[in-house]
Amino acid sequence: MKYHAKLPEKNHNVSHQNPIREFLALLTGVLTFVLVVYWVLGFFVDVAVDYISPEMELAIFESVLGEDEPNTPPIVPDKTQLAMEVLLSDLSQCMNVGFPIELSYTQSETPNAFAAPGGKMVVLSGLLKYVKSENGLAFVLAHELGHFKNRDHLRGMGRNVVLMALSFLATGNSYLSKLLMPVNEFQTAQFSQGRESDADARALDIIQCHYGHVAGATEFFETMVKPEGDLLMHYFQTHPEARARIDAIHKLSQERGYTEGKVSPAFWLEM
């Protein structure tokens, strides 16, 4: 037999399919899987939250959170904090959350307030720059009360845990879990937007009950309205865009027949 040197005509060791098609097919599969599992587990979180009593919540988070966070030193209870506590307890009269709320007033430039586990409401001092009257602040506090009432802090936290576990389990590493981020963020945002609107509605009822009118309810959002807007970002924001929230609040107060009266002056400016 004579030896002929020649090359094979076709490379049979590699696939000749389009890699982009494979990528898209795989990505769609993983995203769908994560979406479905997250949705189902989110449902279980909601069920579980209903079974967690405030006492149990406190017992769980006391051991985790301990005392005050060391990196955010709370101001020595000054007049602002004390006045805020009085306002909060007045507002609580209008809606029974079911457990005591502890107010923590913290120095920070960020205009924010949030409901933390264990009945702890954190108010950042930056918030006071964005509200002009006591009613404006009362709405924000009432909004957080609404979150406590709905146990949204637990739901949000439960979903975050599910999210992290899921993205690591599904992809096995952290950088790939970023690829799943749109799904996660989209779902969280959609879920969260619903919770926020609900808390807004509750807050509206509370300040109507406390003041007898709803003036100042949209004050915080009015100052937060940003001129620029990214259409895509809108769907990924956990808090509905300020403009949409203002409209929703106005619509709701009209439906419920709430009126606007005279706002009380900002007590923190007089101190």
Binding site: K6, L7, V14, E22, F23, L27, V30, G172
Partner: protein
């Protein structure tokens, strides 16, 4: 959101550059394989046919390290979820094997035959988590001179 944009740009860049480089590499491999196809190469311990009196036998080797691009790495990670052929890595190791053999052959163009060809593969960055992986292929053989 910003993280996602970075990731997507990396994937797109990885795809574009990965494809360009792969195409170029395959073109080069095919051209050079054809140029040196006359040099008989076998994994047998004996020469093919009778080559006559042996003048010299020399150990020759050729090695190459090729990295996988970002796009392939992502596709592979997704593939790990479902299982199946990792097509992206097929071209990677195919190129590495052929390039290693080519370099080996090009190191001894005057040999009568190359016998006892062996290939070794190792992956660099193995187990290094988020690092981009690369593959090394080492080809070694005995070059026979007459």
């Amino acid at each position: 959101m910003f993280d996602l944009y970075i990731l997507l740009s990396l994937i797109i860049l990885g795809y574009i550059f990965g494809q360009i480089l792969e195409r170029r590499h395959y073109a080069s491999i095919k051209r050079r394989e054809l140029a040196i196809v006359h040099l008989v190469t076998t994994n047998s311990k004996r020469t093919l046919g009778d080559v006559g009196e042996l003048a010299e036998a020399r150990l020759v080797h050729g090695g190459v390290v090729i990295s996988v691009d970002y796009f392939k790495r992502i596709v592979t990670s997704l593939r790990n979820f479902f299982g199946g052929n990792i097509r992206g890595y097929e071209t990677l190791v195919d190129r590495a094997r052929r390039e290693a053999i080519l370099r080996l052959k090009e190191s001894c163009p005057d040999a009568a035959q190359i016998i006892n060809l062996r290939l070794e593969t190792s992956s660099i960055y193995k187990g290094k988590g988020n690092q981009i992986g690369s593959v090394e292929v080492l080809a070694y053989a005995t070059a026979i001179y007459t």
